[in-house]
């Protein structure tokens, strides 16, 4: 039994260890700041900090969405960070999305509904590239989950990364220097500044605060199931612990008459 547990633990550790991020950061990129995110609290059982995610949505909505699409998110999904139905309707109504062709077959537009997916900033990728010096701003629905470092990386990139290039480094035209971006030269101009947004809840909108909030919102965009998954998980795990205990007791009883 002991050996068995050890081997199982070993197999798990092997799986986890080998699968762990192994793409080392290049030597000249600083280590990422390690933030304590709300979903990492309580042994990883934490839920998403809704106030922060709502502020983060405001940052996305007023700043990032000028360049970045978020095509897998629908306005109705904002329920997941605590927006009310009325708020969602109001947000959607300010957006324009392509509508059905009119009687003459000409394309039309209409205000978005809660069931619509987030409106795209550009009609197509080429338009997005043309507006950004040839670089395509990646869709943000899964951006956080598609980068090593996840929220820490997003926070560092937009919150701390834009510094003056070291002496002697010539930043090419149309590019910007960012310590955390692989290769350092990024096509994205610094998106955040102190006071880029005015938070309704009175939180002071420093660059660090905005970066923290937008990273929280991007976490939600990548893992919208986070809260539901963990609520359910606690109950399932609790049930299984009980069941394991009962089953083990039964097994002991069944085997009690056997000399083995």
């Amino acid at each position: 039994m002991k050996g068995c547990v050890i081997v199982m633990a070993g197999a798990l550790a092997l799986g986890a260890g080998v699968a762990a991020p192994h793409v080392a950061r290049a030597a000249d990129e600083p280590a990422l700041p390690h933030m304590k995110w709300s979903w990492q609290k309580n042994f990883g059982l934490g839920t998403i900090d809704r106030a922060s995610a709502q502020r983060g949505f405001q940052v996305y909505n007023e700043v990032c969405s000028a360049c970045h699409s978020m095509k897998y998110m629908a306005y109705r999904n904002l329920e997941g960070i605590g927006l009310t139905e009325a708020q969602i309707k109001a947000v959607a109504a300010t957006k324009t999305v392509p509508g059905a062709p009119d009687d003459e077959g000409k394309p039309t537009t209409r205000p978005a509904l809660p069931s619509d997916h987030f409106a795209d900033p550009f009609p197509n990728d080429n338009a997005a590239r043309a507006a950004n010096n040839g670089a395509l701003p990646p869709d943000q629905s899964l951006l956080l989950s598609a980068r090593e470092g996840h929220a820490d990386y997003i926070y560092a990139l937009v919150g701390k990364g834009y510094v003056d290039a070291p002496a002697g480094v010539k930043v090419p035209d149309g590019l910007y220097y960012n310590t955390y971006f692989p290769g350092h030269f990024i096509h994205m101009p610094p998106p955040l500044a102190d006071g880029s947004v005015t938070y309704a809840d009175g939180t002071k909108a420093s660059v660090a605060q905005e970066a923290h909030d937008v990273a929280t919102f991007l976490y939600f965009a990548s893992y919208p199931e986070n809260d539901q998954r963990k609520h359910l998980g606690v109950r399932v795990a609790g049930f299984l612990v009980l069941l394991t205990g009962v089953t083990y007791a039964v097994k002991r009883r069944v085997w009690s008459g056997i000399d083995h």
């Binding site: 002991k2 080998v18 989950s145 069941l243």
Partner: protein
Amino acid sequence: MAGLHTSDFKNPVVRWIDSRLPLFTLMSKEYGQFPTPKNFNYFWNFGALATINLLIMIATGVFLAMNYTPTATGAFDSVQRIMRDVNYGWLLRLVHMNGASMFFILIYVHIFRGMYYGSYKAPRELLWMTGVALLLLLMATAFMGYVLPWGQMSYWGATVITNLFGAIPLVGQWIVTLLWGGFAVGDPTLNRFFSLHYLLPFIIFGVVFLHVVALHITGSNNPLGIEVKSEQDTVPFHPYYTAKDSVGMCVYFLVFALIVFLRPYIFSEVDNNIPANVLQTPNEIVPEWYLLPYYAILRSVPDKLAGVCCMFGSILVLFVLPWLDTSPVRSARFRPIYRIMMFALVADMVLLGHVGANRPEGLFILEGRIGTVLYFAFYAALPFVGWLERPLPLPESISRPVLPPRSGGGGGGGPLPAGVAAKPMEKA
């Protein structure tokens, strides 16, 4: 009433069915009374657990397929729809995705058990070989499944692995084109992989059936590796091993649940959250963790064809294991040298896995080569170890070991309580 099966069941409905189609008798014989060595440790849970895992994969897979679109333009989007819009779609997908990793954990432990306790030796050679076939089928299924979400790693992983077949002389390129259904990995590839990914689990199911039939002919091995001598060495499968397997099942469900609900992305690559892009190769193309040791072997051999041969050979060699091992003793408990070799092999697999996860640069090249040589050295040494090793004295029987057992199984002598020993006979 000629030809009807004489059923022992009392319930008239059961009896009516059983005398025409003796399923109840079969189940009762093979999973009720089936005499099973009484000294199993928890390693003997893993076959049953793998069977359950297979059923879970089929169940979740069928529901995923209802919402999945097997086209290059639609696949990635449909997976996101499952994650976001399908009711509990995220749960289906996370169970299926992590279920693949769970499957390999179970199977690797199951194989370790077989090797450590010598379950592959006569008369269980065919049982073992159907097992190796299951491992190969499982790998093929998992590989094709990983292609389906059509992320960057899906696409480029598929490109690298299918290209390996190109190393085969003469027919290589033809096979690759056949796999692709074109001149590169694309829509037709995805279509056929989806079709095969749906098919293979049912073939696995069939091979599991053969595996279990073979098991029920030879009977199970046990931690002492000696044959059952008398009824005193066995207990009926039910309730003894149904109870013990249930404990293992609960623990397995618990581990599975903790992964699915708390760390569901622990085994996944960030790059697979980027839709497949033909024009942009990821920094590093790595397969899933369970294929890494073989990937390391592939990359450790400088020649492509030789590398491919070594990679496939590293698994195919398992087919001949029963004949490579010349020792008459099964269990590593009584084989001092083989025991050490087994642990060395596990360590070597871990080393190779680590190498496979990293770019073949600097020290990793050397480590990979040493690991590969050691891997094959294990099998090459087996015949000689069998001849030279002096095994420890074997116990007389399962009920009467001459030696105090190591931790866990084994057991002091003494007959069973009368009721238990009689049970297997009652219905026979």
